[in-house]
């Protein structure tokens, strides 16, 4: 029944977002991008894409960081246009999407403050989609309790933060725990919210979020090797959803090395193919290893792109907004990767991006 009324409020936005999707860089365009010799060539090539108008007023020797910033500007401008035109329930859904960025920003600020970085520099590094009013004040908080009662309490993340209050003082480990606990709570909440939106949003988002949860589970496991994190604590950080919940998670909570992780993953059809040929030892750090060999992280990205592309195959649901944003983010990562390769003269790794269309 949702479908009948969907277009009343969201038809326009869905049209817009599908148009945005069609603006994504396609395979032949990527091919052109990878053939560029200099950053100027790249800029010339990007002039024909949706980023063109954001780049055209930049003076010519353009740096990778400017490029990334302008691309993010383009993304933000499009997302904000959606937000401004959204009505319930899309507006709420879009708000939910921004919470993920808020978590990243909060953690960024806390870490920065811990290392005594300049607040204004930190604020500039924050993702513009994850800003909230009282966020800058995070830099004065020194304890978790403080964080909560000063700043977080009236941010949208307040509800997620309650579970973190047990941590006493702020150190690297605790911050990681806070990040993961927040994200876990966020994912679970988002999942529940999408459930409430009814079909077909619920099932499509369930698939995407389950995958997200699984990915986090694996990443948390891999990243916790060799740290002080106890196995019980590790289990607490796993999001309580996804195809690995609960049985694989209980087993993952006990493993000690990569091979065991691999053994567990092999029992899942969708991940079995993914880990074939992955040098797991190199993938712990995340960013791609040698040329040609894709890390587990890259495979996850590839899978995510696939899921998000699939969500465009159905109509009358909110997931397209989430999927478009994810795809666009991936695209920006790709462009930045290509730009980095060009500016650092590492052409052999240039094709290690994740193609979308």
């Amino acid at each position: 029944m949702n479908e009948i009324h969907f277009n009343v409020d969201a038809g326009y936005l869905e049209g817009i977002v599908r148009g945005y999707r069609d603006g994504l860089i396609t395979a032949p365009q990527y091919l052109n991008l990878t053939q560029c010799e200099t950053m100027d060539d790249l800029k010339l090539q990007l002039a024909t894409t949706d980023y063109g108008s954001f780049l055209q007023n930049e003076p010519s020797p353009i740096s990778t960081s400017t490029l990334a910033a302008r691309c993010t500007d383009a993304l933000v401008a499009e997302f904000q246009y959606l937000q401004q035109n959204a009505a319930e329930p899309i507006s709420r859904f879009l708000d939910y999407i921004t919470y993920g960025y808020m978590i990243d920003n909060v953690v960024l600020l806390i870490t920065g403050t811990l290392h005594e970085r300049d607040t204004h520099d930190l604020l500039e590094k924050c993702h513009p989609l994850g800003l909230f009013d009282s966020m800058p004040a995070l830099c004065v908080a020194t304890t978790v309790q403080d964080l909560y009662s000063t700043v977080m309490v009236d941010s949208p993340l307040a509800g997620y933060f309650r579970e973190c209050l047990s941590a006493e003082d702020l150190n690297e480990l605790n911050i990681e725990i806070i990040r993961n606990t927040l994200y876990k709570a966020y994912l679970e909440d988002f999942y529940a919210y999408c459930r409430g939106l009814g079909e077909p949003t619920a099932s499509i988002m369930a698939e995407i979020l389950s995958f997200e949860a699984d990915r986090r589970t694996v990443n948390i496991t891999i990243n916790s090797f060799g740290t002080e994190l106890s196995k019980d604590d590790r289990a607490k950080l796993y999001p309580r959803l996804g195809s690995m919940y609960p049985e694989a998670q209980t087993r993952l909570a006990r493993v000690d090395d990569m091979d065991q992780v691999k053994a567990i993953l092999e029992q899942y059809g969708e991940y079995k193919n993914m880990i074939v040929g992955v040098s797991l030892s190199a993938s712990a750090a995340g960013s791609g290893g040698g040329s040609g060999v894709l890390s587990l992280e890259d495979r996850f990205f590839g899978k995510e792109v696939q899921l998000n592309k699939d969500s465009f195959e159905q109509q009358f649901h909110c997931s397209v907004f989430y999927s478009w944003l994810r795809l666009k983010e991936q695209e920006i990562r790709n462009v930045v990767w290509i730009a980095e390769c060009i500016s650092q003269q590492q052409k052999d790794k240039i094709s290690n991006y994740t193609p979308i269309y």
Binding site: N32, Q35, C36, E37, D40, D41, L44, Q45, Q56, N57, P59, S60, T119, H120, L123, D133, S134, P136, A137, C139, V140, A141, D146, S149, T150, V151, V153, D154
Partner: protein, 880 residues
């Protein structure tokens, strides 16, 4: 069989008509490298050549002139920057265009000079703007400082004013207690009362001479425990600031703020920003540090404010004087900036034009090939054959401009490529051609329906819009647009009016034709016109309510159009409906016949005799034997006096027959006509014969053409000529060119695959479509009647509902009522009858052309000729 008609056209006189598109030539240009820029510049000015991309496989940044393109991109960026600065500082841009420079004769040196000047301007403006921004920031700082000082002072005085008055002689304690109610939100002060009050008191005693609030403020400031910070923050952030401070200091603070009335100009965004000055009292240095940190992170600017009143006063005076100085410098800077920008404003339009042209030149040069020695560039492009002379003379001028003595060589290539379609239009035909192009661009050499559309379109429109008054209004407005078209050219820039403006000649003709049909329908704003004596006379005795009177027939016939006596006759609808319905059928059949006949020139042009004999002939026979006969019957019925009496006073005819029944029974009972319906002798036999011919035409259309094609094909195959995979080499005619490299290009012709099944299916579909369409299309022309009826009725209703009642009124209010009634009637007439009804009639006329007319003969599968011209480039840039 591929069409080779194109090559054969060449021998014919090169006429330029709208009937067919221009004869096109594929030309190759050998341009010496040093002339190339000039040559393209000239060609861009005349805009007659459409260049082909000879480097399709080369990506954009690997082409030869990409660096030049980039150079002009960079200059354009600087110009855009300058333009944005012009807008910011409100300097008007001159519309002036330096034709000498923007025209065709500038050389690379002029360009370099221009670039230098732009760079110099850009540099200076950048520096000035940076300095200006710097000064503005300082100014902003001072301004905010001033506001903070003022606000803090007034805050203090307010606090003291509330709490101080009663305690003036009662010692400090009363100030404290009195102060409390005024500071509801200040637990800090109330709480510190007991602990720190005494010390304040003692300090105050030492400064007995001071006024109240000074003591209060001074006391707070000098107390080591209670200090304050003051600053300015954006107004919408103040609530957040307060909340966060309250939480993180656990309520041990007191914040007060005042909105700064005037917006402060923010140098970053250049827009007005509303800000508030605030002051925070906090207890202890560490808390104050915290508050400072929070405030700063939230984007507040903090200012040192001294706690003593005199010092504040001094600061204020100092700030004011510095502000004045700075204001002076700022103004000087602004003047310098405006001067600089005024210099830019005079030229920027020309520069923009030149840069866009130059960029277009290099984009075009990127389409060209270098020859082997890289001495000259080879270009290929399409142009109208009749324009070659003009192109050659342009190239000649270019060579002269470049000061070179190596001429540019132009030669025609023979090709089997389908040329782009170039229909030369003028102001008048342009609009009509657009209507046709919207359906499909004519194939090269195909009959262009645009020629006929020029008259049939407004005519069919007018049949649906027949009203002399409405037509006159429409004509008037369109005529104004046409008369002042140069002055009103700005209309074309507005998106909603552009359609109306570009179609002004269409509207003009539509209006004129509507006046004509209005005259025929005898309608002016739904009223009748009696220019001539009527052919009927109403009896002088009016009868009475509900009595039917009959008009008596006089001798004459009304000379033009419908007799005004029909207006308001109770059977007028019956009469006009029957008249308009028949008229629609007659005109529709004529229109469709014209469409079918246009197949003949097409077939002649493409040398396809088979299309005349086995497509056109059966089609025209089919249509004429059924609907042509209907038209004949209509005319016959019109021209017969069905109530004529012979000498004996007997009716000579039985009565008017129903044509609808006639047509139906022509199919149902062929060869028979009932006596009551009979129109003329031999009708039954004729109808039977016509039906038979129509039926014969169906298999003729269906089978003959495919069978003939198959026979021809089999003949070719049996003679051993089949399936030559033919590559035709593009060859050049001028052989005597030493060193010139001929671009050898192999054109793959589409394979001569003969598939009988395909052709048969196609033919079946076409035949069925034609037969069904001849019926449905004829019926479709009835929309002419339907819309005309709707229009007439609507305008009648509007007249009787809005204006007529006011005319029938009596009393002193009548003039006012007439005025109002007229206003309403006129607005609705223009809005609904002319605007909306006009659009709907336009739409239906469009449909009749696209569907009913064009599908009889028109392929519309051509590609539009888009020559490289600066005008198009600049127009496109303007639209962005």
């Amino acid at each position: 069989m591929p069409s080779r008609g194109w090559g054969m056209m060449r021998g014919r006189p090169k006429t330029t008509t709208i009937f067919r598109s221009e004869v096109m030539s594929l030309v190759q240009l050998y341009i010496p490298s040093d002339v190339a820029r000039y040559a393209v510049l000239q060609l861009g000015e005349i805009g007659l050549v459409q260049f082909r991309d000879l480097n399709v496989e080369v990506s954009a940044f690997q082409r030869s002139f990409v660096n030049d393109v980039r150079r002009f991109d960079e200059i354009e960026r600087k110009l855009r920057y300058l333009h944005s600065q012009l807008e910011r500082s409100g300097v008007d841009v001159y519309e002036f265009l330096d034709d000498g420079f923007a025209g065709s004769s500038r050389g690379p040196r002029d360009i370099d000079e221009m670039e230098e000047r732009i760079n110099a301007h850009d540099d200076r403006v950048l520096k000035l703007t940076a300095a200006f921004k710097n000064l503005q920031l300082k100014h902003l700082e001072l301004l905010e400082n001033k506001y903070v000082l003022e606000e803090v002072s007034s805050l203090f005085s307010e606090m003291a004013g509330r709490g101080g008055a009663p305690g003036a002689q009662g010692g400090r304690a009363s100030v404290a207690t009195g102060g409390a109610p005024g500071l509801d939100a200040a637990p800090l002060l109330t709480r510190t009362d007991t602990s720190s009050r005494r010390s304040i008191g003692s300090l105050d005693a030492a400064r007995a001479g001071d006024t109240d609030f000074d003591i209060e403020a001074g006391g707070v400031g000098r107390d080591i425990n209670v200090g304050f910070i003051a600053g300015v923050i954006q107004r919408e952030r103040i609530a957040t600031l307060e909340r966060v401070l309250w939480r993180s200091l656990r309520g041990n603070m007191f914040l007060n703020y005042v909105d700064i009335e005037d917006p402060i100009r923010d140098p970053k965004s250049d827009g007005p920003v509303y800000k508030s000055a605030f002051i925070v009292f906090a207890h202890g240095a560490s808390l104050r540090d915290r508050a400072t940190k929070i405030a700063e992170s939230l984007g507040a600017t903090l200012y040192q404010v001294d706690s003593s009143a005199e010092r504040r006063q001094e600061d204020l005076i100092d700030t004011m004087s510095r502000l004045d100085d700075l204001q002076q410098i700022l103004e000087n800077n602004a003047v310098a900036r405006v001067n600089e920008l005024t210099g830019v404003a005079e030229q920027i339009n020309t520069w923009f034009t030149v840069v866009r042209k130059e960029k277009a030149i290099y984009h075009t040069l990127n389409l060209f090939n270098y020859d082997a020695n890289r001495n000259c560039l080879i270009a290929e492009g399409w142009c109208a054959t009749s324009d070659i002379l003009a192109i050659q003379s342009a190239l000649h001028v270019a060579t002269e401009n470049a000061g070179s003595n190596v001429p540019t060589v132009l030669q025609e290539l023979r090709t089997t490529k389908e040329p782009p379609t170039f229909v030369r239009t003028n102001r008048f035909t342009d609009g009509f051609q657009n209507i046709v192009d919207a359906y499909g661009v004519p194939k090269a050499g195909e009959v262009n329906p645009g020629l006929f559309t020029c008259i049939t379109f407004p005519f069919l429109f007018a049949l649906m819009f027949g009203d002399l008054g409405h037509g006159a209004l429409m004509t008037l407005s369109a005529a104004l647009l046409c008369a002042y078209e140069k002055r009103l050219a700005w209309l074309a820039k507005s998106e909603s009016l552009r359609m109306f403006y570009s179609g002004r000649y269409i509207v003009l003709l539509m209006g004129v034709f509507s006046m004509f049909t209005g005259l025929i329908y005898n309608d002016i704003f739904s009223r009748a016109m009696s220019f001539f004596p009527s052919g009927w006379a109403w009896p002088a005795d009016q009868g009475g309510e509900g009595v039917t009177v009959e008009a008596a027939r006089l001798g004459g016939v009304y000379p033009i159009g419908i007799d005004p006596a029909w207006h308001h006759a109770s059977n007028s609808l019956l009469f006009t409906n029957s008249y308009k319905m028949k008229m629609s059928i007659v005109l529709g059949v004529i229109h469709m016949t014209l469409g079918i006949c246009l197949q003949v020139p097409n077939a002649l042009h493409f040398r396809k005799r088979i299309n005349i004999v086995h497509v056109f002939v059966p089609q025209i026979i089919f249509l004429c034997s059924i609907f042509g006969y209907l038209v004949f019957a209509i005319v016959l019925k019109w021209s017969t006096d069905w109530y004529a009496r012979d000498a004996g006073g007997e009716l000579t005819h039985i009565g008017p027959p129903s044509l609808l029944n006639m047509l139906i029974y022509m199919f149902l009972s062929p060869g028979k006509v009932s006596d009551s319906e009979k129109m003329f002798r031999g009708q039954a036999a004729l109808q039977g014969f016509l039906l038979l011919t129509a039926l014969v035409c169906v298999p003729w259309m269906l089978l003959v053409k495919p069978l003939i094609l198959r026979r021809e094909h089999q003949k070719i195959v049996s003679e051993g000529y089949g399936r030559i995979s033919s590559h035709v080499r593009v060859s050049t005619e001028g052989e005597g060119l030493g060193g010139a490299v001929i671009v050898a290009e192999q054109e793959e012709m589409e394979e001569d695959d003969f598939d009988f099944a395909d052709i048969m299916i196609n033919q079946t579909i076409h035949t069925i479509e034609f037969c069904l369409n001849s019926i449905s299309n004829t019926a479709s022309y009835l929309r002419l009647w339907a819309l005309s009826l709707a229009h007439a009725q609507l305008s009648e209703v509007l007249w009787t509902m809005t204006f007529l009642p006011t005319l029938k009124m009596s009393g002193s209010l009548q003039p006012v009522a007439i005025m109002c009634g007229f206003a309403v009637w006129f607005v609705l007439t223009v809005g609904i009858l002319i605007g909306m009804e006009g659009l709907s009639a336009f739409l239906h006329a469009l449909r009749l052309h696209w569907v009913e007319f064009n599908n009889k003969f028109y392929d519309g599968t051509g590609v539009k000729f888009e020559p490289f011209s600066f005008k198009a480039v600049l127009d496109e840039a303007d639209e962005q």
